[in-house]
Symmetry: D2
Subunit: 229 residues, 4 copies
């Protein structure tokens, strides 16, 4: 699974600028756009008091490659812009997701309190064999139908949800923090989430990029329980 | 494919009420909520002049059963609320979409100008056989994995995008008209769309329900080129 | 300030229905739509685990009369539908907001930690006299300009932000809870807010109506720190 | 009235990149990000066929100074991010909007078909005198209340809606085009709008900036009747 930052206009200074429009006028940032202690305190205050709007005046565009079942979960986040590879316009590629060895395969516990545990060797083999064979067979039918002149949009209906697709997604920091709060199982979270491991693998990549672009905002998010403002 | 109205709070009078707040005060509707000629003219004026907000104070909730590739397109519409059957929490059912005989199977023309034409008998048989076999095989792997104790969220990755899922979706009339404008190929449209036939089959059911609940609004939508305000 | 429920399609059962689509199928509610202990537990679980979408399949429409400075704050909430009295289409009415005697008039403390305290008798008189006179004078200029044939949209520019306006607003429960979390200063809140008292007076009316329509959802909101899911 | 571009990440190439994810893969742009005839045709096709999402992966942040009655109209556009000068946190400045000489002052015609015509000399003088005096008097009361120690959020209620405020607003091109379609009265529009002149003065500045940043997108918007996709 791949999450790559394509372009961005996002920095901690953007948050300060936007907040200062409300409180001091936009001329008040230290020269050079550097953040001093006052600016750090301001960002933390905004997070704590849940002033969400200053975290919106920025934009990050990611290119994502992930299986369809992951993109389906991602695209439920509505405060974002999406353009996905179209299986109506393009022929998909034969790339399928198969869980790696460290993927917990067995679900225990009650609804709302599921935990995941490693599978036996036998279960691991079944998963790998079952998913690989299924992907291969489905791909074969897909190709056959295309070769017989069937429309892409019809032929694609045989492809399983572990086939890879790709998309552009653009989010602002506020929406991105909301995404992280729901799609990671970070133990610092005030309200713990239980995402499927595969979308969490994407979310962790998003988180690393975000932490790099907006370290002060990220620190405040982490410090106040990972509840998006 | 099934689209069933679960509940609603939506009538043409809602549009008039909302618009009258702006222009006359809310006390001004004819007794009994009946719409006279003035109210009909008002709704048509609002549509023509693209005053969109009066069309939002209403709500329609649908229960939808459709294959995953249809729900994926539907859920790209962000001004709506969704709850979908979860393949993490529930075991899916062995119901798969196979195109009916009248489904055009062959795509001709250039990108942006595709047309669809019927397939040959041979093509029809290939599609039916290919999709049915693939669905059956995938279901068999899915059941095997579940029987071996594999987590639902892992096992489901073998299921193809023509497996049925179900969802609740709630929209207001403005968002619904936008959905119709993009997901039907109605010839009255000022900006014709080219949706995949399967989502159009859902959209046509939505359209019939909407036309029944809000006939004046629907008439104005149709009359002004099916461009949502 | 007035907040009146105009119409709604909102009950706790709506939350359960929407959640059950994900987990059990929609046929699973107890007869009569009554909620048993399982349903109560479900709603609390959804709130705790921040599954927000089941709280969206409902709709409440309010008619609000409040001064412009309150409507300005309210309309910053974007997940809602608004239709407001138009001072371009209608002549406004001479109704102005003047703080009541129990309104704290003096602000102390530092930015981000303001508190409000009662004013002296003198301050109270100044506020009342200043605001009343100003309203009266502005209204007089407004009327004069209208009488001279000046367009409403030009004449209205003399009216102060304490003039009353009215609007329709439609929200779902999820958005409404977010509104409450920011526009009330409830001491149960995990993240306390510091709204202006006047919008809080509206929010308290919204809260009472919401608690009445969806008591279980409201209880869960209150119980989990008034953080909207 | 001032509209100033503060920062942006917006170009016609962004539209092409996003669309190509759907159709060809993101590696397909000509070197240097230059747009050739194929790219121009693609943007026009997207506009004509109302593929809106490729126009969303960009962002423009404006700093706006305008009277409150203009900001009120602007902020009704919900697909945007706002941070406005807070009269709770800051003391406002004594800057008020007074119509210039070329502002049409008289409204004729019926609702929905209003036209505006110049006023007489007498009417012009009344407007100027009435608005200036009212602004001056209101400011005087505002200052008096502040001097007596009254909280800013209470004192501000005497200020008229022609007092200037300022805000940051961030929009993407799709939302911006929707804003332009409703807030300008351009004669090329398929669905003509009738905005108040003052917000149109802002919208014209937005339009000039947009046309400069994304000339091909702007041309397509203009060419297809100024109906946002």
């Amino acid at each position: 699974m791949t999450v790559r930052l394509v372009k961005h206009s996002a920095s901690d200074a953007d948050v300060v600028f936007a907040a200062r429009v409300s409180t001091k006028g936009p001329e008040s940032l230290p020269a050079g756009g550097d953040l001093g202690p006052t600016e750090l305190a301001l960002i933390n205050f905004l997070m704590k008091d849940r002033h969400g709007s200053p975290f919106e005046h920025n934009s990050m565009t990611f290119y994502v490659e992930a299986p369809i079942f992951v993109l389906r979960e991602w695209q439920r986040h509505r405060i974002a812009s999406y353009n996905e590879e179209s299986a109506r316009y393009r022929e998909l590629k034969p790339v399928f997701y198969v869980p790696a060895e460290d993927r917990n395969l067995v679900q225990v516990g009650k609804p709302g309190h599921y935990r995941f545990e490693p599978g036996s060797k036998w279960q691991e083999r079944s998963v790998r064999y079952g998913i690989e064979t299924n992907s291969y067979e489905a791909w074969s039918v897909y190709r056959d139908l295309l070769n017989e002149g069937i429309a892409r949009e019809v032929a694609r209906s045989v492809l399983p949800v572990n086939v890879y697709s790709s998309m552009y997604v653009t989010m602002n920091a506020r929406s991105l923090m909301h995404f992280l709060s729901l799609r990671t199982s970070n133990t610092e979270a005030l309200f713990p989430s239980h995402p499927q491991r595969e979308i969490e693998m994407c979310a962790e990549q998003v988180e690393a990029i975000f932490a790099d672009l907006m370290p002060v905002t990220y620190g405040a998010f982490q410090g106040y329980g990972r509840v998006a403002p």
